[in-house]
Protein backbone atom coordinates (compact mmCIF):
# COMPACT_ATOMS: atom_id res chain seq x y z
CA UNK A 1 0.00 0.00 0.00
CA UNK A 2 1.36 3.39 -0.94
CA UNK A 3 1.31 5.68 2.09
CA UNK A 4 -1.51 7.87 0.76
CA UNK A 5 -3.25 5.43 -1.56
CA UNK A 6 -4.83 2.45 0.16
CA UNK A 7 -6.66 -0.05 -2.01
CA UNK A 8 -10.30 -0.23 -1.00
CA UNK A 9 -12.97 -2.41 -2.58
CA UNK A 10 -16.53 -1.15 -2.19
CA UNK A 11 -19.59 -3.32 -2.77
CA UNK A 12 -22.91 -1.48 -2.78
CA UNK A 13 -26.54 -2.50 -3.21
CA UNK A 14 -28.12 -1.06 -6.36
CA UNK A 15 -31.51 -0.81 -4.68
CA UNK A 16 -30.36 1.52 -1.93
CA UNK A 17 -27.25 3.26 -3.22
CA UNK A 18 -26.93 5.49 -6.28
CA UNK A 19 -29.92 4.26 -8.26
CA UNK A 20 -30.95 7.80 -9.22
CA UNK A 21 -27.54 8.59 -10.67
CA UNK A 22 -25.89 7.43 -13.87
CA UNK A 23 -23.80 4.43 -12.81
CA UNK A 24 -20.97 5.26 -15.21
CA UNK A 25 -20.80 8.85 -13.90
CA UNK A 26 -20.52 7.59 -10.33
CA UNK A 27 -18.03 4.92 -11.36
CA UNK A 28 -15.72 7.59 -12.80
CA UNK A 29 -15.32 8.96 -9.26
CA UNK A 30 -14.78 5.62 -7.54
CA UNK A 31 -12.19 2.91 -8.15
CA UNK A 32 -12.81 -0.73 -7.25
CA UNK A 33 -16.56 -0.14 -6.92
CA UNK A 34 -18.81 -3.13 -7.41
CA UNK A 35 -22.55 -2.37 -7.45
CA UNK A 36 -24.49 -5.58 -6.75
CA UNK A 37 -28.17 -6.42 -7.01
CA UNK A 38 -28.44 -6.96 -3.24
CA UNK A 39 -25.84 -6.80 -0.48
CA UNK A 40 -27.02 -10.33 0.41
CA UNK A 41 -25.41 -11.42 -2.85
CA UNK A 42 -21.94 -10.72 -1.47
CA UNK A 43 -20.34 -14.01 -0.52
CA UNK A 44 -17.73 -14.32 2.21
CA UNK A 45 -15.34 -15.67 -0.42
CA UNK A 46 -15.71 -12.43 -2.46
CA UNK A 47 -14.52 -10.48 0.57
CA UNK A 48 -11.64 -12.85 1.29
CA UNK A 49 -10.57 -12.90 -2.36
CA UNK A 50 -10.45 -9.09 -2.32
CA UNK A 51 -8.03 -9.19 0.63
CA UNK A 52 -6.06 -12.01 -1.02
CA UNK A 53 -5.78 -9.93 -4.19
CA UNK A 54 -4.25 -7.07 -2.22
CA UNK A 55 -7.13 -4.97 -0.91
CA UNK A 56 -6.34 -3.01 2.25
CA UNK A 57 -10.01 -2.76 3.14
CA UNK A 58 -13.51 -3.75 2.05
CA UNK A 59 -16.58 -1.53 2.46
CA UNK A 60 -20.09 -2.91 2.07
CA UNK A 61 -23.06 -0.60 1.61
CA UNK A 62 -26.45 -2.25 2.07
CA UNK A 63 -29.99 -0.99 2.51
CA UNK A 64 -31.17 0.16 5.91
CA UNK A 65 -32.91 -2.28 8.25
CA UNK A 66 -36.36 -3.20 7.01
CA UNK A 67 -35.76 -1.85 3.49
CA UNK A 68 -34.20 -4.83 1.69
CA UNK A 69 -35.90 -5.41 -1.67
CA UNK A 70 -35.39 -9.14 -1.08
CA UNK A 71 -36.65 -9.14 2.51
CA UNK A 72 -33.45 -9.51 4.56
CA UNK A 73 -30.38 -9.77 2.31
CA UNK A 74 -28.87 -6.79 4.13
CA UNK A 75 -29.20 -8.45 7.55
CA UNK A 76 -27.87 -11.75 6.19
CA UNK A 77 -24.75 -9.93 5.04
CA UNK A 78 -24.44 -7.96 8.25
CA UNK A 79 -24.40 -11.26 10.17
CA UNK A 80 -21.68 -12.61 7.85
CA UNK A 81 -19.61 -9.44 8.12
CA UNK A 82 -19.75 -9.19 11.93
CA UNK A 83 -18.59 -12.79 12.30
CA UNK A 84 -16.05 -12.53 9.48
CA UNK A 85 -14.48 -9.52 11.21
CA UNK A 86 -13.60 -11.81 14.13
CA UNK A 87 -12.15 -14.41 11.76
CA UNK A 88 -10.08 -11.78 9.92
CA UNK A 89 -8.64 -10.58 13.22
CA UNK A 90 -7.12 -14.06 13.71
CA UNK A 91 -5.60 -13.84 10.23
CA UNK A 92 -3.94 -10.59 11.30
CA UNK A 93 -6.40 -8.36 9.44
CA UNK A 94 -7.82 -5.70 11.77
CA UNK A 95 -11.61 -5.64 12.10
CA UNK A 96 -11.69 -2.01 10.90
CA UNK A 97 -10.58 -3.19 7.45
CA UNK A 98 -14.01 -4.70 6.82
CA UNK A 99 -16.94 -2.36 7.30
CA UNK A 100 -20.64 -2.55 6.60
CA UNK A 101 -23.05 0.35 6.54
CA UNK A 102 -26.79 -0.20 6.26
CA UNK A 103 -28.37 3.00 5.00
CA UNK A 104 -29.91 4.58 1.90
CA UNK A 105 -28.38 7.03 -0.57
CA UNK A 106 -30.41 7.18 -3.82
CA UNK A 107 -28.09 9.77 -5.42
CA UNK A 108 -24.99 7.87 -4.37
CA UNK A 109 -23.22 11.13 -3.53
CA UNK A 110 -22.17 9.75 -0.16
CA UNK A 111 -20.40 6.73 -1.64
CA UNK A 112 -17.17 8.61 -2.51
CA UNK A 113 -17.31 10.36 0.88
CA UNK A 114 -17.68 7.11 2.82
CA UNK A 115 -14.86 5.58 0.81
CA UNK A 116 -12.64 8.56 1.53
CA UNK A 117 -13.42 8.32 5.24
CA UNK A 118 -12.55 4.63 5.33
CA UNK A 119 -9.39 5.23 3.27
CA UNK A 120 -8.25 7.70 5.90
CA UNK A 121 -8.69 5.01 8.55
CA UNK A 122 -6.77 2.55 6.37
CA UNK A 123 -3.87 5.00 6.05
CA UNK A 124 -3.73 5.14 9.85
CA UNK A 125 -3.70 1.34 10.02
CA UNK A 126 -0.92 1.03 7.42
CA UNK A 127 -0.44 -2.03 5.24
CA UNK A 128 -1.76 -5.46 6.23
CA UNK A 129 1.12 -7.08 8.05
CA UNK A 130 0.52 -10.80 7.77
CA UNK A 131 -0.64 -11.69 4.25
Amino acid sequence: MAESNPKLVCFSCKFGWGYLSEESALASKITNWIPVVCSGKIDTSHILKAFRAGADGVLILGCSEGHCHFQDGNIQTEKKVLLLQKVLETFGIEQERLEIQLSMDPDGQNIPLLIKKMEENLIKLGPIKRL
Binding site: I75, K80, L82, L84, T90
Partner: protein, 327 residues
Protein backbone atom coordinates in the same frame (compact mmCIF):
# COMPACT_ATOMS: atom_id res chain seq x y z
CA UNK B 1 9.29 -59.86 -4.68
CA UNK B 2 10.60 -58.04 -7.73
CA UNK B 3 7.38 -58.44 -9.69
CA UNK B 4 5.07 -57.11 -7.02
CA UNK B 5 4.08 -53.44 -7.24
CA UNK B 6 6.07 -51.36 -4.79
CA UNK B 7 4.23 -49.26 -2.21
CA UNK B 8 5.74 -46.67 0.14
CA UNK B 9 3.99 -45.25 3.20
CA UNK B 10 5.54 -42.16 4.72
CA UNK B 11 4.68 -39.55 7.35
CA UNK B 12 5.66 -35.92 7.03
CA UNK B 13 4.35 -33.46 9.66
CA UNK B 14 1.96 -36.09 11.00
CA UNK B 15 0.85 -37.70 14.24
CA UNK B 16 0.77 -41.29 12.92
CA UNK B 17 -3.02 -41.39 13.15
CA UNK B 18 -3.18 -42.01 9.39
CA UNK B 19 -0.67 -44.86 9.75
CA UNK B 20 -2.81 -46.21 12.58
CA UNK B 21 -5.78 -46.19 10.24
CA UNK B 22 -3.77 -48.28 7.75
CA UNK B 23 -2.96 -50.71 10.58
CA UNK B 24 -6.71 -50.82 11.25
CA UNK B 25 -7.11 -52.59 7.91
CA UNK B 26 -6.39 -55.64 10.11
CA UNK B 27 -6.45 -58.89 8.11
CA UNK B 28 -6.79 -56.95 4.86
CA UNK B 29 -3.32 -55.62 5.54
CA UNK B 30 -1.95 -59.18 5.52
CA UNK B 31 -3.64 -59.83 2.16
CA UNK B 32 -2.21 -56.59 0.89
CA UNK B 33 1.27 -57.57 2.02
CA UNK B 34 0.94 -60.68 -0.18
CA UNK B 35 0.36 -58.68 -3.35
CA UNK B 36 2.53 -55.60 -2.85
CA UNK B 37 6.10 -55.00 -1.82
CA UNK B 38 6.16 -52.41 0.97
CA UNK B 39 9.44 -50.57 0.44
CA UNK B 40 9.05 -47.92 3.14
CA UNK B 41 6.87 -47.51 6.21
CA UNK B 42 8.80 -45.95 9.11
CA UNK B 43 5.98 -46.29 11.63
CA UNK B 44 5.66 -50.04 11.21
CA UNK B 45 8.87 -51.42 9.74
CA UNK B 46 12.59 -50.71 9.49
CA UNK B 47 13.96 -49.34 6.22
CA UNK B 48 16.85 -47.20 5.11
CA UNK B 49 16.27 -44.06 3.06
CA UNK B 50 19.33 -45.02 0.98
CA UNK B 51 17.30 -47.94 -0.40
CA UNK B 52 14.67 -45.51 -1.66
CA UNK B 53 17.31 -43.25 -3.16
CA UNK B 54 18.74 -46.26 -4.99
CA UNK B 55 15.43 -47.06 -6.70
CA UNK B 56 14.81 -45.98 -10.27
CA UNK B 57 12.59 -42.97 -10.86
CA UNK B 58 8.94 -44.03 -10.96
CA UNK B 59 9.77 -47.50 -9.65
CA UNK B 60 7.37 -47.20 -6.71
CA UNK B 61 3.79 -47.77 -7.91
CA UNK B 62 2.19 -45.78 -5.09
CA UNK B 63 3.45 -43.54 -2.32
CA UNK B 64 0.98 -42.84 0.44
CA UNK B 65 2.02 -39.65 2.19
CA UNK B 66 0.40 -38.33 5.35
CA UNK B 67 1.11 -35.08 7.17
CA UNK B 68 1.71 -31.46 6.33
CA UNK B 69 5.04 -29.98 5.23
CA UNK B 70 6.58 -27.86 7.98
CA UNK B 71 10.33 -28.36 7.69
CA UNK B 72 13.10 -29.03 5.19
CA UNK B 73 13.15 -32.76 6.01
CA UNK B 74 9.48 -33.08 5.11
CA UNK B 75 10.10 -31.25 1.85
CA UNK B 76 13.12 -33.40 0.98
CA UNK B 77 11.30 -36.69 1.62
CA UNK B 78 8.19 -35.55 -0.24
CA UNK B 79 10.38 -34.61 -3.21
CA UNK B 80 12.29 -37.90 -3.12
CA UNK B 81 9.14 -40.03 -2.98
CA UNK B 82 7.49 -37.97 -5.73
CA UNK B 83 10.49 -38.65 -7.96
CA UNK B 84 10.51 -42.37 -7.25
CA UNK B 85 6.72 -42.88 -7.54
CA UNK B 86 4.25 -43.27 -10.36
CA UNK B 87 1.38 -42.15 -8.14
CA UNK B 88 1.24 -40.10 -4.94
CA UNK B 89 -1.77 -40.27 -2.63
CA UNK B 90 -2.16 -37.46 -0.07
CA UNK B 91 -3.56 -39.30 2.93
CA UNK B 92 -5.41 -37.47 5.66
CA UNK B 93 -6.48 -33.93 6.42
CA UNK B 94 -2.90 -32.68 7.05
CA UNK B 95 -1.55 -33.77 3.66
CA UNK B 96 -4.72 -32.66 1.85
CA UNK B 97 -5.46 -29.31 3.54
CA UNK B 98 -2.79 -28.72 6.20
CA UNK B 99 -4.79 -30.23 9.07
CA UNK B 100 -4.90 -29.07 12.67
CA UNK B 101 -1.17 -28.41 12.52
CA UNK B 102 -2.02 -25.77 9.94
CA UNK B 103 -3.63 -23.64 12.65
CA UNK B 104 -0.04 -22.76 13.54
CA UNK B 105 -0.17 -20.44 10.53
CA UNK B 106 -2.12 -18.05 12.74
CA UNK B 107 1.19 -17.48 14.55
CA UNK B 108 4.58 -16.55 13.19
CA UNK B 109 7.61 -18.83 13.47
CA UNK B 110 9.11 -16.34 15.94
CA UNK B 111 6.00 -16.42 18.16
CA UNK B 112 6.01 -20.24 18.13
CA UNK B 113 9.72 -20.49 18.96
CA UNK B 114 9.43 -17.89 21.74
CA UNK B 115 6.58 -19.78 23.37
CA UNK B 116 7.99 -23.29 22.98
CA UNK B 117 11.61 -22.57 23.93
CA UNK B 118 11.31 -19.54 26.22
CA UNK B 119 7.95 -18.35 27.54
CA UNK B 120 5.91 -21.51 28.27
CA UNK B 121 5.66 -21.88 32.06
CA UNK B 122 7.35 -25.29 32.12
CA UNK B 123 10.38 -24.15 30.10
CA UNK B 124 13.69 -23.33 31.79
CA UNK B 125 16.06 -21.76 29.27
CA UNK B 126 18.09 -19.01 31.00
CA UNK B 127 20.55 -18.70 28.10
CA UNK B 128 17.69 -18.30 25.63
CA UNK B 129 18.96 -21.03 23.32
CA UNK B 130 16.95 -21.87 20.25
CA UNK B 131 17.36 -24.86 17.91
CA UNK B 132 19.87 -24.23 15.15
CA UNK B 133 20.07 -25.96 11.78
CA UNK B 134 23.81 -26.44 12.38
CA UNK B 135 25.72 -26.85 15.65
CA UNK B 136 29.44 -27.55 15.98
CA UNK B 137 30.36 -30.05 18.68
CA UNK B 138 33.94 -31.34 19.07
CA UNK B 139 34.81 -30.37 15.52
CA UNK B 140 31.77 -32.11 14.11
CA UNK B 141 28.64 -30.52 12.67
CA UNK B 142 25.25 -31.65 13.96
CA UNK B 143 22.30 -30.70 11.80
CA UNK B 144 18.56 -30.28 12.26
CA UNK B 145 15.93 -29.72 9.58
CA UNK B 146 14.98 -26.09 8.99
CA UNK B 147 11.64 -25.17 10.59
CA UNK B 148 9.72 -23.20 7.96
CA UNK B 149 7.71 -20.09 8.71
CA UNK B 150 4.55 -21.70 7.32
CA UNK B 151 2.67 -25.01 7.28
CA UNK B 152 2.13 -26.23 3.71
CA UNK B 153 -0.25 -28.76 2.23
CA UNK B 154 1.43 -31.57 0.31
CA UNK B 155 0.27 -30.30 -3.09
CA UNK B 156 1.86 -26.90 -2.40
CA UNK B 157 5.22 -28.74 -2.35
CA UNK B 158 4.92 -31.62 -4.84
CA UNK B 159 2.38 -32.75 -7.44
CA UNK B 160 -0.28 -34.94 -5.87
CA UNK B 161 -2.27 -37.46 -7.93
CA UNK B 162 -5.04 -38.41 -5.51
CA UNK B 163 -6.45 -37.18 -2.22
CA UNK B 164 -8.03 -39.07 0.64
CA UNK B 165 -8.95 -36.72 3.49
CA UNK B 166 -9.96 -37.43 7.07
CA UNK B 167 -8.49 -37.28 10.55
CA UNK B 168 -7.82 -40.07 10.16
CA UNK B 169 -9.18 -41.41 6.86
CA UNK B 170 -11.34 -44.48 7.53
CA UNK B 171 -9.79 -47.88 6.71
CA UNK B 172 -12.52 -48.78 4.17
CA UNK B 173 -11.65 -45.78 1.99
CA UNK B 174 -7.93 -46.56 2.32
CA UNK B 175 -8.59 -50.14 1.18
CA UNK B 176 -10.66 -48.85 -1.76
CA UNK B 177 -7.91 -46.42 -2.74
CA UNK B 178 -5.17 -49.06 -2.69
CA UNK B 179 -7.39 -51.55 -4.56
CA UNK B 180 -8.13 -48.94 -7.21
CA UNK B 181 -4.40 -48.46 -7.78
CA UNK B 182 -3.74 -52.21 -7.91
CA UNK B 183 -6.57 -52.85 -10.37
CA UNK B 184 -5.94 -49.68 -12.38
CA UNK B 185 -9.55 -48.63 -11.90
CA UNK B 186 -8.76 -45.02 -11.12
CA UNK B 187 -10.70 -41.75 -11.51
CA UNK B 188 -9.04 -38.74 -13.23
CA UNK B 189 -5.82 -37.44 -11.69
CA UNK B 190 -6.55 -34.89 -8.98
CA UNK B 191 -9.63 -36.70 -7.72
CA UNK B 192 -10.53 -37.13 -4.09
CA UNK B 193 -11.16 -40.81 -3.40
CA UNK B 194 -14.20 -40.17 -1.21
CA UNK B 195 -17.94 -39.55 -1.76
CA UNK B 196 -18.92 -36.24 -3.37
CA UNK B 197 -21.80 -35.26 -1.07
CA UNK B 198 -21.81 -33.09 2.04
CA UNK B 199 -21.96 -34.80 5.42
CA UNK B 200 -25.50 -33.55 6.10
CA UNK B 201 -26.67 -35.60 3.09
CA UNK B 202 -25.70 -38.83 4.81
CA UNK B 203 -26.15 -37.86 8.46
CA UNK B 204 -28.86 -39.87 10.21
CA UNK B 205 -29.70 -36.82 12.33
CA UNK B 206 -30.86 -35.03 9.19
CA UNK B 207 -34.23 -36.78 9.48
CA UNK B 208 -34.97 -34.94 12.71
CA UNK B 209 -33.87 -31.56 11.38
CA UNK B 210 -36.65 -28.95 11.66
CA UNK B 211 -37.85 -27.45 8.36
CA UNK B 212 -36.73 -24.01 9.51
CA UNK B 213 -33.75 -23.68 11.77
CA UNK B 214 -33.28 -20.60 13.91
CA UNK B 215 -30.31 -20.32 16.22
CA UNK B 216 -30.88 -17.93 19.11
CA UNK B 217 -27.96 -19.10 21.25
CA UNK B 218 -24.66 -20.76 20.40
CA UNK B 219 -23.74 -23.60 22.71
CA UNK B 220 -20.53 -25.61 23.02
CA UNK B 221 -20.80 -29.36 23.07
CA UNK B 222 -19.38 -29.74 26.58
CA UNK B 223 -21.86 -27.24 28.00
CA UNK B 224 -24.98 -29.20 27.09
CA UNK B 225 -26.29 -32.72 27.06
CA UNK B 226 -26.88 -33.08 23.35
CA UNK B 227 -29.77 -35.21 22.16
CA UNK B 228 -28.18 -38.28 20.49
CA UNK B 229 -30.57 -38.14 17.50
CA UNK B 230 -31.11 -34.42 16.87
CA UNK B 231 -29.33 -32.17 14.39
CA UNK B 232 -26.59 -30.36 16.32
CA UNK B 233 -27.16 -27.07 14.52
CA UNK B 234 -30.85 -27.14 15.41
CA UNK B 235 -29.69 -27.16 19.03
CA UNK B 236 -27.29 -24.26 18.43
CA UNK B 237 -24.19 -26.47 18.58
CA UNK B 238 -21.63 -25.69 15.90
CA UNK B 239 -21.40 -28.66 13.52
CA UNK B 240 -19.32 -28.39 10.32
CA UNK B 241 -21.51 -30.92 8.44
CA UNK B 242 -22.98 -28.50 5.87
CA UNK B 243 -19.52 -27.52 4.56
CA UNK B 244 -17.80 -30.90 4.93
CA UNK B 245 -17.48 -33.83 2.54
CA UNK B 246 -18.98 -37.08 3.73
CA UNK B 247 -17.22 -40.45 3.78
CA UNK B 248 -15.97 -40.52 7.35
CA UNK B 249 -18.62 -42.99 8.46
CA UNK B 250 -20.04 -40.35 10.82
CA UNK B 251 -17.88 -41.59 13.66
CA UNK B 252 -18.14 -38.29 15.53
CA UNK B 253 -21.96 -38.18 15.21
CA UNK B 254 -22.17 -41.71 16.54
CA UNK B 255 -20.36 -40.67 19.71
CA UNK B 256 -22.65 -37.63 20.00
CA UNK B 257 -20.02 -35.15 18.87
CA UNK B 258 -20.58 -32.58 16.11
CA UNK B 259 -18.58 -32.68 12.87
CA UNK B 260 -15.28 -30.83 13.07
CA UNK B 261 -14.68 -30.77 9.31
CA UNK B 262 -11.76 -33.19 8.87
CA UNK B 263 -12.92 -34.32 5.39
CA UNK B 264 -12.58 -30.80 4.08
CA UNK B 265 -15.02 -29.10 1.76
CA UNK B 266 -17.23 -30.92 -0.76
CA UNK B 267 -16.13 -30.80 -4.43
CA UNK B 268 -16.11 -27.37 -6.07
CA UNK B 269 -15.74 -25.45 -2.81
CA UNK B 270 -12.57 -23.47 -2.23
CA UNK B 271 -12.30 -22.88 1.48
CA UNK B 272 -14.69 -24.66 3.81
CA UNK B 273 -14.26 -21.89 6.39
CA UNK B 274 -16.00 -18.97 4.67
CA UNK B 275 -18.70 -21.21 3.22
CA UNK B 276 -19.44 -22.60 6.65
CA UNK B 277 -19.47 -19.11 8.13
CA UNK B 278 -22.13 -18.11 5.58
CA UNK B 279 -24.18 -21.21 6.29
CA UNK B 280 -24.02 -20.71 10.04
CA UNK B 281 -24.90 -17.02 9.99
CA UNK B 282 -27.91 -17.70 7.75
CA UNK B 283 -29.30 -19.84 10.59
CA UNK B 284 -28.80 -17.19 13.25
CA UNK B 285 -32.07 -15.54 14.20
CA UNK B 286 -31.32 -11.85 14.59
CA UNK B 287 -32.71 -8.72 13.04
CA UNK B 288 -30.75 -6.01 14.77
CA UNK B 289 -27.00 -5.42 15.00
CA UNK B 290 -27.05 -5.79 18.80
CA UNK B 291 -28.88 -9.12 18.52
CA UNK B 292 -26.24 -10.42 16.09
CA UNK B 293 -23.43 -9.38 18.43
CA UNK B 294 -25.21 -10.99 21.37
CA UNK B 295 -25.40 -14.37 19.61
CA UNK B 296 -21.99 -14.49 17.90
CA UNK B 297 -20.13 -13.43 21.04
CA UNK B 298 -20.54 -17.02 22.23
CA UNK B 299 -18.58 -18.41 19.27
CA UNK B 300 -15.22 -18.82 20.95
CA UNK B 301 -12.35 -18.71 18.43
CA UNK B 302 -14.40 -18.69 15.20
CA UNK B 303 -11.30 -18.94 12.99
CA UNK B 304 -10.18 -22.01 14.92
CA UNK B 305 -13.60 -23.58 14.48
CA UNK B 306 -14.06 -22.82 10.81
CA UNK B 307 -10.47 -23.49 9.69
CA UNK B 308 -9.69 -26.33 12.07
CA UNK B 309 -8.32 -28.56 9.30
CA UNK B 310 -8.04 -26.26 6.30
CA UNK B 311 -6.10 -23.09 7.16
CA UNK B 312 -3.11 -23.73 4.83
CA UNK B 313 -5.37 -24.46 1.83
CA UNK B 314 -7.76 -21.57 2.53
CA UNK B 315 -8.13 -18.38 0.48
CA UNK B 316 -6.23 -16.26 3.00
CA UNK B 317 -4.05 -18.97 4.55
CA UNK B 318 -2.41 -20.42 1.45
CA UNK B 319 1.11 -19.38 0.62
CA UNK B 320 3.59 -20.42 -2.01
CA UNK B 321 6.77 -22.09 -0.80
CA UNK B 322 9.87 -19.92 -1.03
CA UNK B 323 11.40 -22.07 -3.79
CA UNK B 324 8.33 -21.83 -6.01
CA UNK B 325 8.19 -18.06 -5.51
CA UNK B 326 11.81 -17.75 -6.70
CA UNK B 327 11.09 -19.75 -9.87
Amino acid sequence: MADKPKVAVYWLGACAGCDESIVDLNETLLQLAQVVDIVLWPVAMDFKYAHIEALKDGEISLSILSGSVRNSDHEEMAGLLRKKSKLVLALGACACFGGTAGLANFKTKEEIFSWVYLDAPTVVNPEARFPQTETRVDGKVLTLPEFYDHVYTLDQIIEVDYYLPGCPPPPDLIANAVNSVLTGDLPPIGSTLAPRMALCDTCSRNKKKPSKMEITQIKRIHEVEADPDSCFLAEGIICMGPATRTGCGETCMKTNLPCRGCFGPPPGVVGAGPKYLSALTSLIKAEKTEEIHEIIKDIVDPAGYFYRFTQPSSILGRKKPKKQMEE
